[in-house]
Amino acid sequence: MECVFGMVGDGFALVAADTSAVHSILVHKSNEDKVMILDSHKLLGASGEAGDRSFTEYIQKNVHVYEFRNGIPLTTAATANFTRCELALALRKVRPSCPVHIVFLVSQNPYFVNILLAGYDKNIGPSLYYIDYIATLHKVDKGAFGYGSYFTLSMMDRHYKSGMSLEEAIDLVDKCIIEIRSRLVVAPPNFVIKIVDKDGAREYAWRESIKDAAGVSAA
């Protein structure tokens, strides 16, 4: 029941994600940060299989390597296309140990991770990219993944307008979180919101309704 969503506002882009790490019916932890800060001006929110979220670390390291090698950071569009290519390669890569069948060999070891990439470039401004686990790439103004997307996309369709201020956008994010909490059957309790603008990528706020490991009382 993972929920990741994001939108572009006036001079900024934000990504919000739930923070529960779930395995079947068990909640391992409720403060798992799923929005990775790739570099000074990029955020990558990933939802999907927990092990494959480490794919985002792989992207982060490659983004850093590019900046070290070339002296300038990758643009958001280039990062999005690089991420898409990595996902697309993994989608059809044949592992050497697999026997070759005379049937339709498609996915060998794909990463089951859906990604929302938000970034700010100096001459372009903020941008948000939707990258599916099967490597569909699209530049969007608002995007969402998971069961929560059924609610957040509708809320954003109703209330989103381009060029929103930060306060308006956070207000919309809160509306979406309230909607998820009230309408999704196994709703994640806590969310993290991160933003990226000309001053960089940073954590904006947490929205917690359950605090972790602080001794939840049964009373």
């Binding site: 339709f104 569909t136 790439l137 059924y150």
Partner: protein, 204 residues
């Protein structure tokens, strides 16, 4: 649901008098959910050659990147643009390379060949070419498109009439298909100019 219906698409190309038109819908969906309403399915290879790719969106993007790469190499080596017939054979070969693990795409190729004679063709996901003299269709709305095009098409249409015909055929067909729609994108190519227009239809 089939893998070809995962994202939803509709592409059609028609031949007119020394011109051709190629049109597609604009929806990008994930099964029943609509993700975006401005997805591009028609790509320019060179000034007189366009390819529309329907089917799985990730393969549309991968295939487009591979084809533009091959065409750019061809341009560097041959110092000229590829003819539409040659390009169609190239696409067919690239698709058949993946015979046992195909790209889930059905391309529609439209171009102006020598002496500005329009050329259109389509192929299935493993590269079986189908040349036509009048129109070609592909995508989730293909059955509706066949019917609409068959009834609306006339040979040797002038550009304005061709644009009108292909737009009406596309919009009426995607209205009957839940997986494609959200407007249309039409390119009309004559020997002298390219007109690109966005259609507003039923936005659902």
């Amino acid at each position: 649901m089939s893998i070809f219906e995962y994202n939803g698409s509709a592409v059609v190309a028609m031949v007119g008098k020394n011109c051709f038109a190629i049109a597609s819908d604009r929806r990008l969906g994930v099964n029943l959910q609509t993700i975006a309403t401005d997805f591009q399915r028609i790509f320019k290879i060179h000034d007189k050659l366009y390819i529309g790719l329907s089917g799985l969106a990730t393969d549309v993007q991968t295939l487009y990147q591979r084809l533009i790469f091959r065409h750019k190499l061809y341009q560097l080596r041959e110092e000229r643009d590829m003819k539409p017939q040659t390009f169609a054979s190239l696409v067919s070969a690239i698709l058949y390379e993946k015979r046992f693990g195909p790209y889930f795409c059905q391309p529609v190729i439209a171009g102006l060949g020598d002496d500005d004679v329009p050329f259109i063709c389509t192929m299935d996901c493993i590269g079986a070419k189908e040349l036509a003299k009048d129109f070609v269709v592909s995508g989730t709305a293909s059955e509706s498109l066949y019917g609409a095009c068959e009834s609306m098409y006339k040979p040797n249409m002038e550009p304005e009439e061709l644009f009108e015909t292909i737009s009406q055929a596309l919009l009426s067909s995607v209205d009957r298909d839940c997986l494609s729609g959200w407007g249309g994108h039409v390119l009309l190519v004559t020997s002298t100019e390219v007109q690109e227009r966005t259609l507003k239809g039923r936005m659902d």
